[in-house]
């Protein structure tokens, strides 16, 4: 399959190339490849080095009022926490959101690329792209890079003419349509809370609380998730950020510390 290189800048020249220097600029855009003796081995090593374990928790679900999307905000490198304030919900356009799990650079770059493609579609066809179409664009791009070490586990959530839409797309080339997804190392814990509390006819506040609780429980159990639980809602008028609560404070909000009853107390002895 032809690799998608629309994300790279190209420099079209009007004049024919005069010499070698200008000749480079008018060549077809492509990613630079390293010149090493053992390209396959080098690529394998590079993949292993970059291969993150998708240490994160993101979730999204469709309900009566639209789509609820939530994520934590921790970035970890092995055991070290590199950041507690990463934006994992990416705003592709005012009515579509993407979640980030896996390699941060991969997710940010390809989501922005998807945003560009969606805008071009709007300009060319005079109508917004559907969530189905947008997720298919992304899935095809990722499939063309299959095996090269991209690490992307994303959910595309949006509202189009057919109503709310939610797709799971990953760097292995998979694309699934569904109503409830959770991605990342904390996803089993989030699924437990999400699946037991889910009803189709939740109100927006109830759904937001369910999403927040699910992320909180995942951050409690999973070491690679934490920071801030962000909750976004996608409705007929586009997405809106509902809350961003620090998970450390959420714990004591859900499970307040009650002062324990004193069993034995020492008092100063009076007198001689």
């Amino acid at each position: 399959m032809k690799l998608d290189t629309t994300g790279l800048e190209s420099f079209p020249t009007l004049l024919a190339p005069q010499n070698d220097v200008v000749g480079d600029l008018s060549a077809a855009p492509s990613f630079d490849l390293p010149n090493s003796n053992d390209f396959d081995g080098f690529l394998k090593e590079a993949i292993q080095m970059v291969k993150p374990a998708k240490g994160t928790t993101t979730l999204a679900f469709i309900f009566k009022e639209g789509v609820m999307v939530a994520a934590d905000s921790r970035a970890s490198m092995g055991g070290y926490i590199s950041s507690q304030s990463v934006k994992k919900i990416i705003e592709i356009n005012p009515y579509m959101l993407g979640t980030m799990a896996g390699g941060a650079a991969d997710c940010q770059f390809w989501h922005r690329n998807l945003g560009i493609k969606c805008r071009l579609h709007e300009l060319a066809n005079k109508r917004r792209i559907s969530v189905t179409g947008a997720s298919k664009l992304l899935a095809n791009i990722l499939y063309s890079y299959r095996g090269m070490g991209l690490s992307v586990g994303t959910m595309i959530a949006g509202w189009d003419e057919t109503g709310p839409g939610l797709y799971y797309v990953d760097s292995e080339g998979g694309r699934l349509k569904g109503t409830r997804f959770s991605v990342g190392s904390g996803s089993p814990y989030a699924y437990g809370v999400l699946d037991s509390g889910y009803r189709y006819d939740l109100s927006v506040e109830e759904a937001a609380e369910l999403a927040r609780r699910a992320i909180y429980h995942a951050t409690f159990r999973d070491g690679a998730s934490g920071g801030v639980a962000s909750v976004y809602y996608v409705g007929p008028n586009g997405w809106k950020k509902l809350s961003g609560d620090d998970v450390g404070e959420l714990h004591y909000h859900y499970y307040p510390v009650t002062p324990s009853t004193v069993e034995q107390e020492m008092v100063e002895a009076t007198g001689a």
Partner: protein, 204 residues
């Protein structure tokens, strides 16, 4: 992840004015999954001697049971408690006995010796002693702990100030480590009393 990072741990001990403080996190995990948030890592040998064991939790518990056994025998024979320096040598010897199949723990020992002089030391998993005059650290968060302690430590702190310092150093370091945290456990020991406190921390 290495075997030392299997359960996750963070331990620190600091010296103050005629007192010492020893603190640990409370998480027990299996790689990234958290199993317990009330795991005990600091153990009392006698009223003026504490040992905290970081690293593999099963080895920490087994090693502690062995040490308590040896100390009880010592108490019966010598009719007194062990001095911290002697205890440190005992731990070092026990660890080196297993030189070619070691316990995967790094102990931190803190006690009040002769004249109630504070004594702290740490060891690697083979028993190499490192005596320090100010603070010792151990565990998955040890690099962060070194930085935090270096910045926050002052010599000759009173027990209250020492408690604040060690708690802040512990909390800020474990907040940068995925594998430790979920609360804190601090013992502050002076010649007359032992204060045990549980810290409220970030539970993520």
């Amino acid at each position: 992840m290495s075997i030392f990072e299997y359960n996750g741990s963070a331990v620190v001990a600091m010296v103050g004015k005629n007192c010492f403080a020893i603190a640990s996190d409370r998480r027990l995990g299996v790689q990234l999954q958290t199993i317990a948030t009330d795991f005990q890592r600091i153990f009392k040998i006698h009223d003026k001697l504490f040992i905290a064991l970081s690293g593999l939790a099963t080895d920490a518990q087994t090693l502690y049971q062995r040490l308590v056994f040896r100390h009880k025998l010592y108490q019966l024979r010598e009719e007194r408690d062990m001095k911290p320096e002697t205890f440190a040598s005992l731990v070092s010897a026990l660890l080196y006995e297993k030189r070619f199949g070691p316990y995967f723990c790094q102990p931190v020992i803190a006690g009040l010796g002769d004249g109630d002089k504070p004594f702290i030391c740490t060891m690697d998993c083979l028993g190499a002693k490192e005596l320090a005059k100010d603070f010792v650290v151990s565990g998955t968060a040890s690099e962060s702990l070194y930085g935090a302690c270096e910045a926050m430590f002052k010599p000759d702190m009173e027990p209250e100030e020492l408690f604040e310092t060690i708690s802040q150093a512990l909390q800020s370091s474990v907040d940068r480590d995925c594998l430790s945290g979920w609360g804190g456990h601090v013992y502050v020991v002076t010649p007359t009393e032992v204060t045990e406190r549980i810290l409220k921390g970030r539970m993520d």
